[in-house]
């Protein structure tokens, strides 16, 4: 009997792995169709500079979407990612410009501010049992207000911190391989993606993230301190929003306190287009990256083709539905 069990195990294990790779390749389908379509429609689309522009445009939304992915996998939702990003940018501005601290401290302050806000959201959700939608909606408003209060409703500029714009706009890669001047913002996105992916798939925190979304009560009855892990996930997501805050501040060379609301829907859309389920328990960072890319390509392509703005919106809406529909079809078949 035991030999029978092992052979069965072996063959069955091979099958899902193959179809897994298959899966991922096909997940690119909508993205590839879009890229090919726009390339044919406009010769300007596939130029290096435009590809870099698309990647750069993906970076902020991509990082926010990764933060949202973590929370969504636990079965929650995070509406505060956009204004939290702004809040972190403002904190960074206060530390660097108002207090005149050196650059690394500003970076740390932004990330810590994000972590602190995430910790609050997580505590509201885990300890006070406020539904994630409300806890993060409340945080969204609180952070929006606080950004205005702290900044004095004025943008904070980073002119006194030379090198700050390098965080998103410089190109370390380009300094080494001049042919590929990938902006640092994109590099940061990839590093965040790799780290988040690693955490999700290889660490206990990642495993608990999935377990929370899959069956929180079962996890609790397994003797796991679910509250603590949930707060940890929100805190991690918050600190990733801090990184997004650095990116946007660096790109705009300023912390714009009024910006950020509305970004949460783009981020969540990227997550869902990327195949993460809003009911929790499943999701991948790679999917989210693809989702964010699909949105950036779509917007860029429509603009390059000079489609009238009102029609851009209509087309974007339709393609988002279509992309997810195709993804559903594919998954049902496999």
């Amino acid at each position: 009997m035991s030999t029978e069990a092992t052979t069965q195990t072996a063959t069955a294990a091979a099958a899902p792995r193959l179809s897994g790779a298959h899966h991922r390749l096909l997940a690119f389908a909508s993205l590839i169709v879009l890229v090919v379509g726009f390339s044919l429609a406009s010769p300007n689309f596939m130029q290096t500079s435009n590809v870099l522009a698309i990647l750069q445009a993906t970076s902020v939304n991509g990082v926010l979407a990764i933060a949202a992915t973590l929370v969504i996998i636990t079965g929650g939702i995070d509406l505060s990612v956009g204004t939290l990003m702004t809040f972190c940018a403002v904190i960074c501005g206060v530390v660097l410009t108002y207090m005149g601290m050196p650059l690394p401290l500003g970076v740390i302050a932004a990330i810590l501010a994000g972590a602190a806000a995430g910790f609050c959201s997580g505590t509201f959700v885990a300890k006070l049992k406020v539904p994630p939608f409300i806890a993060t909606l409340g945080m969204m408003l609180i952070l929006k207000g606080l950004s205005l209060v702290i900044s004095g409703t004025r943008p904070i500029y980073f002119n006194d911190t030379p090198g700050f714009t390098q965080i998103a706009q410089g190109s370390l890669v380009g300094a080494i391989i001049p042919a590929v001047p990938v902006p640092n913002g994109v590099l940061v996105l990839f590093i965040v993606a790799i780290v988040a992916s690693f955490i999700l798939s290889k660490t206990a925190l990642g495993r608990y993230t999935f377990a929370l979304g899959s069956n929180e009560e079962a996890l609790r009855l397994s003797g796991v301190n679910t509250d603590r892990w949930k707060i940890a996930v929100y805190t991690l997501a918050g600190s990733i929003c801090g990184i997004a805050g650095l990116l946007i501040a660096s790109r705009l060379n300023s912390a714009q306190p009024a910006l950020g609301q509305g970004y949460e829907l783009d981020a969540i859309a990227a997550v869902v287009i990327g195949g993460t389920s809003l009911s929790g328990g499943r999701g991948t960072v790679l999917g989210t990256l693809i989702g964010a890319l699909i949105m950036a390509v779509l917007l860029n392509g429509l603009r390059i083709m000079s489609v009238a703005q009102e029609w851009q919106t209509v087309v974007t809406g339709s393609i988002i539905i279509l992309a997810v529909y195709v993804d559903m079809l594919r998954r049902r078949k496999l």
Binding site: A53, T153, P155, L252, I304, Q309
Partner: protein
């Protein structure tokens, strides 16, 4: 009796509105009255503005400053103000009604036409230009767009407007839009950003793509725009006098509340500024950071 004047504006968080607020606060301090300043998140939220106006009226103020997002939509409440003998001062782009006792505003159409003149001059009277506007439906967005476009079409037949896109005044979104426009039109000669966020977006986009030969014209001021003009990234910009708008509005409101006569139309004016005159005292006075 304490004089209280609420100002209901079109926006709150943007620097332009903060400058209007600063002007209003200044007048309030000088005249010893209380003002409050409120505005919706975006210029599309007409009903939110109406709710704000309703709450302001409930406070029985001595006068009200109002920058209508849509004049018609506000008429019932304005009538209510009239019946309660609360004088209304229109500011920014004015109210289509005879209820306001005074209007402190900028002629956005004329201002944008001036921007078109400058643009045509700087690109040599021919070539392609594009616009990044903050809003497709709000009064200021429409006026600045139409003012610019109509002037171009009437006076400069050799200038082609290739595209007009809208970025909500969001710096980042306007940056991405600019980059797409520049990708699609490598031979573009000039771009007009119709408010502060749009203008900064255009500057950012051009800089990120390393496009140095583009003529950029902005609108309003703010530290970044001023810097861009000093650095030569931006050719120049139109500025209104937001501090003046806020100041004059409150002054007129206080007068009206005391039953004194007020000037019906207070034109706060607009100015072209560039590297050459940015430090002139009369220009510096209407710019904000």
């Amino acid at each position: 009796q304490d004089v209280y004047v609420p100002l209901i504006s079109k926006g709150f968080q943007h620097q332009f509105w903060q400058a209007v607020k600063a002007g209003a606060d200044k007048a309030a301090a000088e005249l010893g009255v209380t003002v409050t300043f409120e505005g919706p998140d975006t210029e599309a939220q007409v009903d939110r503005q109406i709710d704000m106006l309703a709450a302001a009226l409930a406070k029985n103020p001595q006068a009200i400053g109002f920058a209508a997002l849509d004049s018609q939509a506000a008429i019932p409440l304005l009538r209510q103000a009239q019946e309660a003998n609360i004088p209304v001062i229109a500011f920014d782009s004015g109210v289509d009604s005879d209820i306001p006792v005074a209007t402190a505003s900028t002629d956005n159409i004329a201002a944008a036409a001036l921007a078109a003149d400058k643009m045509a001059e700087l690109i040599g009277g021919e070539g392609k230009v594009a616009l990044v506007v903050h809003d497709q439906t709000s009064r200021t967005g429409i006026d600045r767009r139409d003012g610019f476009v109509n002037r171009m079409q009437e006076a400069y037949p050799n200038v082609e407007i290739v595209t007009i896109q809208y970025g909500g005044g969001d710096h980042l979104q306007s940056t991405e839009i600019t980059k797409s426009i520049l990708q699609a039109n490598p031979d573009l000669k000039g771009m007009f950003g119709a408010n502060e966020g749009s203008a900064i977006g255009v500057v950012n986009g051009a800089r990120e793509l390393g496009k140095t030969d583009l003529v950029i014209i902005g609108y309003d001021s703010g530290a970044q725009q001023k810097q861009a003009i000093r650095d030569g990234l931006m050719a120049g910009a139109i500025t209104q006098n937001p501090v003046g708008i806020g100041y004059e509005t409150v002054v007129a409101a206080v007068k009206a509340s005391k039953g004194e006569a007020v000037e019906k139309n207070i034109d706060t004016g607009f100015f072209w500024y560039d590297k050459s005159n940015i430090d002139d005292p009369e220009i510096a006075a209407v710019l904000y950071d």
